[in-house]
Symmetry: D2
Subunit: 481 residues, 4 copies
């Protein structure tokens, strides 16, 4: 997963991008970058790690101009290296161009093979780079036509921003897998247009949400303001339902629906689908913080059980940690979460989380709760079992690593060492989303399910996926510095 | 505020200290350090910033031995410089000694004057250094006698750990202002003894809480295990009540009482002392995360109002942030907290926080909530007005910066721009603590109030305080590198 | 100017390259890099600055395999940025390839225009990159044919090394502008073949000089040992005569001739062409260290005057130096050279240097010598006036900055503030080189002059030069990090 | 060995110190530091490594005021750690004081024992720190009296600069072991007084040499200009003769005598004492650069043999170098020196160096010359055999590591693998110095010998030396960061 941010028409464009990226930091912590333009040149700075760590005042001062795009990268395809950091920026025959991409191209390998056979040389191992080569080779003259030409050749998921000397272009693939929204920011010198993965980044800079970019829309923002074209064949929209479950920030709204309210509704629905049996006097509902909090609030409310912060999250956990040689029980999870013994000891604990991937962390949490004195541990998950990998931009492991793909629910319960395990149904998930998106209207369950991508739960992929590796077994070049 | 950690008898002593300090990181983020010993030499490493950032595997490998003490520093007296980082470690005539101090010495200036007049040269501007000089000059032979001799000359608050080649010594001042507790860790090779500011650091390394170190106790841990002496004149214990309100981690227990349960009780009591009048249908209780969460849970429960996460806390806020030149409304607070519009818009919002210092942040939060559509904003504080500076180790500002010292509650409400403002009473605070410390027993309010230090609320200082600056107007030497 | 080094068949290939580059450090201090191969992958490390500073033991350990090429870069075309550091290494359709280039391509701009129009995207602003694109687009199958195909399209100066997974290829342009030589190194496991800009780098690793790579030769070193092809149209060899005057290390031999002996011969010849008139009792010959030392030894010997170290060179001058605001006389030169008053005061000083470019340094030296008490200062230069820029790989300034291009010798003498100024003639220079190259044989002056490139003295360019800038005014992209 | 520099009365005092230290860089490369004062406070910056690397423009800007002292450190007693870097600066009861010391205190251990027993705590393991403690404990009021009091208690060698808020004090021990000289610098705002280890540092900043500070002199420079006192018992001056042989820069003058001229005279005398027998037609004189150059010039001139640069010194050798696993012959010396085969091959080579310490380098040089084709190798050393360690500030190894202390000259010749070996006599050395110090006057050999310290050659120590280690076996504290 990644996050993108763009702004056009603001005297401190790079600084706004820096703040906008900070508000999207949850979408990617591996690398961050900004490319700005003063209308004549493009200026780029990229760094590994968090936005805040990667940019000094001097770096920002080196990014002049009233337009900029930025990117935060979550390690997906291509490996962790500064050369894969985005925005990707190059000079080519028609000028300079930069792009920031959230998504994943499913036909990357075959496109790269075709381009290399023609003599193209790739600088990165990121799928994003094929878009640049396709633009450079396009026979169209106008940049927007070259972009449309290039994007019509790629398949998969893309919410992508382009910056040239003159224009900022935002494009969302015809299925609209990944979010992208438009806002505006009134400032002393006029109105700036902003685009971002989530509206939460508008909030920080004082901008106002206008609307979502539509699936299949290409929005060109130039000196005359924004205008839209729709150069792709039409498809049924399939926005990712997992953004509601986990990825987006709770204070975001996607497709007009509050992510926080959706999550609470998931918890409420889950309490009905998978209630806790038996005595309730000594039962507590505990979220896995922070992502499980809204669902736990909903679950507690719907079930009439007390909500307690039974796991305390450390604010100080970074990427690397020196482990002792002598092993410590549940070490990995303990660094991040610590049991609040006072509310656990002697209790029946209902632990609410958004999803289970490999199951290893959940298992450690259950054991840690038991060690802290929990009498029973009941696990409740506010989404269906995650059984399929995502090929549209979320970095899920392969099927054989997904516990729900290889084990039954009963086997999973055994592995997690919990007393009971309950998942939300796909229908329950989709209906809850629909109910918040169109409040007061009773959702038709089938329509609700069909109007999102839920491949990670159902294996129902809207765009065919090839997992073939290229015969050349790239990359062969190992570069450092 | 600072945190200390010590361990004796573990083959990976420095690594355990590193983990223990990580679990105490909330007590100080300015600097961190560890001194270990192999029984012959002392080995020291100190660094500015967080524990995790300041120690590489190589640094830890340079700290051999089965005993170690560590320190995390919150910038208090002395200024931010590596030379003030702790543990403070020196060679003197009798060997090497290191110490890690949580607290503040009220007679530092006069002691330093006296020592300098005698020819002593100070390396730091930290009050902790006088203890070292007093030990070096003591005429006693045994280290523990030298320590007792030195500590009998200082006044104020100290929970302090000493490490020599042979012993780990833990001392708590006779009033017991700052917490200090003892634990043990059974490992392959035997039993290690651990001491720390809070038991939460025992949890991470799998150690078990044994008891609090008593006010006035000096505990000497050597090859024969721990033994205690009480070398100070007796005083009535005055543990800091603010640790319960804000400073300690919620999963800690101090004096045997769960901090989380105390905070919930404060919220419940606050709901009774300062209830919200008027219609309740559109009223929500919102914590200022994370410190306000337990009290908000208690408040919501006692008042029957819904608890909602109306402010989303960013996990990615570090120390420095590049601000734009063009000002952004509520910028400072927005970086850290962002309003969750879906639960705020059109609502009466009760915002629960632990304390108000200057009032500037609270004011920004109120304004941000109103901007996000709150119809009314009611501020509830789970402690009394903070009217006096702390001279016993917490870094509070001077009286003229404390809004509660300079303004009436009504004036404060005007400044905060909120519809109502309510604080918990000192009696309510003390009774709530007492009720959790001795459950099932009805607390005598006067006794409850008297059994803690509450000088920050009452101005009632247990140890006299001199704020006189030394005539020599130290420091004159400005050193970098 | 730059230096290149390659080795094939040594178990510590990267370490040998590191040492070889150290011995070529005088040819470029801006950046250094090594690419190695284990026969399957290429491994790259490049860094700004000196070889020694840019490579840690860990960096070298990351460069496995028995073959490697390396490069030290002197800032020439393209600007100072890590992306212009070499070896340049890429993946393309046929595998991976790296190259290290000493020289300058005179038709770079038109080649780049042509390639970009076709859709190629450039990663750097270095002329070297066009060679890679031409190889990637070649329709030949064998790497050596693709290389020959590419090199037949470029014009100018190139001594270039290529590394693929299987072969090391060394190519020298048909004029042989820049040096390139072959050696071999017998080690425990067999014989390694080495190529380098100068044989001095063989000395350090214990390798033995075999022969110079011939102008127009392409040497392919694979598992079966080296073999040569000559794929270019034949041209009269024109090795750079300035390598003898200044660039090469004195302990090198180029074209079989000792550089040190050539320089001494230049000094001897100079003493005859431009003798010092007047009393000789109080006259001393002083070199500008270190490059002027051999010529000064020759001059002193031929003229019977004492040789003295009248200027002491500091070993500690790096790239940047903080200047005081209040100006210091001759500051820039004084940091590097300091006058040895004892041998200057009251003397007639003959100062011997290899060349004068802008004249500013020489002027400062003359003034500094006079300040130190020199009665007269006579400047003698062991080469002709430098009147033309070099387009074949040496970074000379434009004509209007060359003092000899804009001023007569008399005007130059006035500017330098010296009592007399004498240059060596082109005939004298060429004859001296010839006399060392073929000792015992009386050189034919005209042949001697014709058998080298001396364009910087004569303006006689062997390959036509276009100084046209591309219409696209590259680069537009400014990238940092 | 170390170097010191001080300046009083210059608006850019710290910048001048920075330049002065650069010119003294040959006296110490381990660490550098500057302390400045604006008359009210002292400002300090110290860093490991070279002056140029350790000071940024921002560091210098942090050193305001019109007076400063600086230090370059050569690793001697105390070990390599920033805490041992100088100037040493502290606050004490009477204000702040900094000091920069060149020399070595022979009674350091017993003084430290005495001070620690009294309760003093040491910050460093450098002998310099005892001076500070003695000053802090002095019962005198005036700083100069406290300094005199302290210095009267130490024994050994000290050329030391002190800086307080008001005064710069320069002191040289009564024997004057280490050099110290006075200069002045006229600038826009008046006259600044400068003191330095060698006058060469005056040259760089445009200052003028005034005189040497006399042995036993304490010079106080304050607002009213400099004034001298002589607070020590009188001793016969014993300036170090090895400064002439090796340590000082050739363009310096010590005791009024040009170091370069002394070294040439040593070479001339050596040619007479230890001539080269046999045929002279194919014999060359080669210096070990750079320190052997002046003596080789003198030797060549006196013997009528040609002077040639037969060893080329690399300008790029730093402290650390990654060695290959497979050993390379003479690797260590080859990195720094490379043989110039053209002048060596087939020749009888006379190699001139200033001294032999362990003999390992000389042996490698001889072998390298033979490998490069030398027919015979004759070693000539321009000083007597180094047989005794220096206890007065030069970092010589212990006796058992000095080849001349453990082997006869014949055994040394065998070890070095050379055809002949000749040292200069102590009488020859002393007479040559005397002849340059007082030209035109025939020196009395005995007086010449007696008027310098030559303990490293003769074992004749002017101040008794205790090599006893303190019973406490300091240091026990190992600190990093």
């Amino acid at each position: 997963m990644c996050g993108v941010f763009g702004i056009f028409g603001h005297p401190e464009a790079a600084n706004m991008a820096y703040l906008g990226l900070h508000a999207l930091q949850h979408r990617g912590q591996e690398a961050a970058g900004i490319v700005s333009s003063d209308g004549e040149k493009l200026f780029a700075h990229r760094a590994m790690g968090l936005v805040q760590a990667g940019f000094t005042p001097r770096d920002l001062a080196g990014l002049p101009g009233d337009r900029a795009i930025g990117h935060v990268r979550y390690s997906t395809a291509g490996g962790s290296h500064i050369k894969n950091a985005q925005p990707f920026a190059v000079d080519y025959a028609r000028g300079s161009i930069a792009l920031a991409h959230n998504g994943n191209l499913t036909n990357y390998e075959s496109l790269r093979d075709r381009l290399e056979a023609r003599g193209s040389i790739f600088q990165s191992t990121s799928d994003t780079e094929v878009i640049v080569h396709l633009i450079a080779m396009s026979t169209h003259m106008a940049v927007e036509d070259r972009i449309a030409d290039a994007l019509n050749q790629v398949e998969g998921a893309f919410s992508v921003l382009f910056l040239t000397e003159r224009e900022l272009v935002a494009a969302r693939d015809p299925h609209g897998f990944r979010p992208l929204c438009l806002g505006k920011l009134t400032h002393g010198g006029g109105v700036a247009h902003v685009v971002a993965s989530e509206p939460t980044s508008f909030e920080l800079i004082g901008a106002e949400y206008v609307r979502d970019i539509a699936p299949g829309e290409v929005l060109i923002i130039g000196a005359d303001g924004p205008r839209s074209v729709f150069p792709f064949p039409e498809h049924k929209p399939k926005p990712c339902i997992f953004e509601y479950v986990y990825f987006a920030r709770p204070d975001s709204a996607l497709g007009g629906a509050s992510v926080y309210e959706v999550r609470k509704a998931l918890g409420e629905r889950l309490a009905k689908e998978e209630p806790i049996a038996g005595s309730r006097d000594d039962t507590v509902v505990i979220p896995v913080p922070d992502s499980g909090v809204p669902a736990a609030v909903g679950f507690a409310r719907a079930s009439g059980l007390p909500f307690e912060m039974g796991l305390i999250r450390s604010h100080y956990v970074g990427r690397t940690f020196i482990e002792p040689q002598q092993s410590i029980r549940h070490f990995g999870v303990r660094l991040k979460l610590s049991p609040n013994r006072a509310v656990i000891e002697g209790k029946r604990v209902v632990i609410v989380d958004d999803s289970i991937v490999r199951g290893t962390t959940s298992r450690k949490i259950v054991k840690m709760l038991r060690d802290a004195g929990a009498r029973e541990v009941h696990v409740r998950i506010s989404s269906p079992p995650t059984r399929w990998p995502c090929y549209y931009g979320i970095n899920t492991p392969t099927r054989d690593e997904l516990i729900a793909a290889t084990s039954s629910i009963e086997e999973t319960r055994d592995y997690l060492l919990c007393d009971s395990l309950g998942y939300l149904s796909l229908e329950g998930l989709a209906s809850s989303v629909a109910q918040i998106r169109t409040p007061g209207k009773l959702p038709v369950v089938k329509d609700a399910v069909n109007s999102h991508c839920h491949a990670c739960f159902s294996g129902d992929y809207a765009v065919p996926v090839s997992t073939r590796k290229s015969p050349s077994q790239r990359p062969r070049l190992v570069s450092a510095g």
